[in-house]
Amino acid sequence: MKEAKKNGLRLFKSATLVAAIFASNITQAEMFNTGKVLATGGVSMIDGAGGGGITPWATITGYATRDGINGNLHYTYAPLANYTLHSIGAAVGFWDRFELSYTKSSLTTGSTFDTLGLVFDTVGGLTDETAGIPVSTGIEPFNTTIEMDIVGAKVRVFGEAIYDSDNLIPQVAIGGFYKNNKNDELLTTLKAAKTKDWEAYIAATKIFFPINTLVNITARYSAANQTGLTGFGGPDGDDKEIRPEISLAYLLRKDTVIGVEWAKHGDNVNGQSVDVADIDLTGLQPTLGTLGLGNLAGTLTQNESDWFDAFVAYFPNKNLSMTFAYAMLGDITITPDQHGFYLSLQASF
């Protein structure tokens, strides 16, 4: 009798355990969700947030509805005239409400700073004599690379981007990035005030099905130079400013979207030359002249342009999206006309 009771208890215990495991499996199955309609999760923008190519949108990344969680990995490759951007990261969307992202960007600067690097090597002895200190510019004679880590978060505040076709209220989200640029020395040379900084944004997104169009307007509060790839702020300080960004997308098919984007950029270092150990290189230009390098003078001036792109995004299924774009990024540091193709892949799981 006692034995039976014990067995009964044991049976009850194991039944409870099985039930608990079963229940937790159900919970896991219910947590994972891919219930959004194809393409409505958007793609991954270069900072890693859900959105377009260069602009974060109010949509929460991934295919989870408010019933669950879904994430993705993304890789972006943009070979420009003088730079190549590789951006790789992961993002998770929670209950169509909250989003977290991490992205590692690497900007190889190709031949951009080779000339400068060689000039510094050439005049290095001279500069050392003048300043009496070793000069560290962060510029290698060849293949200077800028690396930046970006952590992002976004929360959907109100609105429904897709289904509220009978009013004009957009879906609105607020978000932010923390960006940590690793090439401190080069950023000093480029006269950026900071190498680490945060940005905040508010985004409004709405799909207008009667005209097959998606509109997104974002205001980003930022001091970034080239999204932070060349630092934050300039000689006049690191004050942030509000910069508008717009994405317009036309829905061609349920799995294909084309569009254009514009992002306002700052002018923190416009017209500035590069800076070596606090010696303004504009003052070095006569020296360059005497060295027979006078034609280099103009190439020392930095500028920054607004970014434009035109894209086509293709969503063969909910596990993969491919974005092809032509990016027109204008002046980047000392090199003009930085235009080129852009490829971004997103794998959702």
Binding site: G35, V37, G68, D164, S165, L168, F209, P210
Partner: protein, 153 residues
Amino acid sequence: MKPIFRTIAIAILAGTAALPSFAQTGKTPTLPALDDDALEQWGGEEGVRNWVESLFYYIMLDNRINHIFREFGNIERQIFLNTQLEQLVLGGAVEYQGASMAAAHADLGITVTQFNAVVEAAYNACERINVTYEACNQLIAALAPYERVIVTR
């Protein structure tokens, strides 16, 4: 407040306040408005019925949602009523004899995931009957506001 902003604000408020009441009384007042010839793009009543039949074909093949429609019962009647409703919201001069979308779905506990599954079936049905994607989006826009009353969980 400037008059233009007041007008926009009133329009937004009116649109929001009028929510479920516009249901099933006529063409859905989307912003921007549906095309005048939205129903013609669909091939009129016959085109709409073809789509509804295809819609239910895809719904009944989708294990995420077919049980809901099966339990609701009488698929033929659902197809009949949906054909009326879809013509109506596209601007057709027809009478809808069914219950309001809110009443019909009140006790079903539909999730947004399930609602989205029907939207995917809707796009598949458009492709099946060769309605253009643009025309398909006219109907998607016309039905989209029902999400607020159909999704209750």
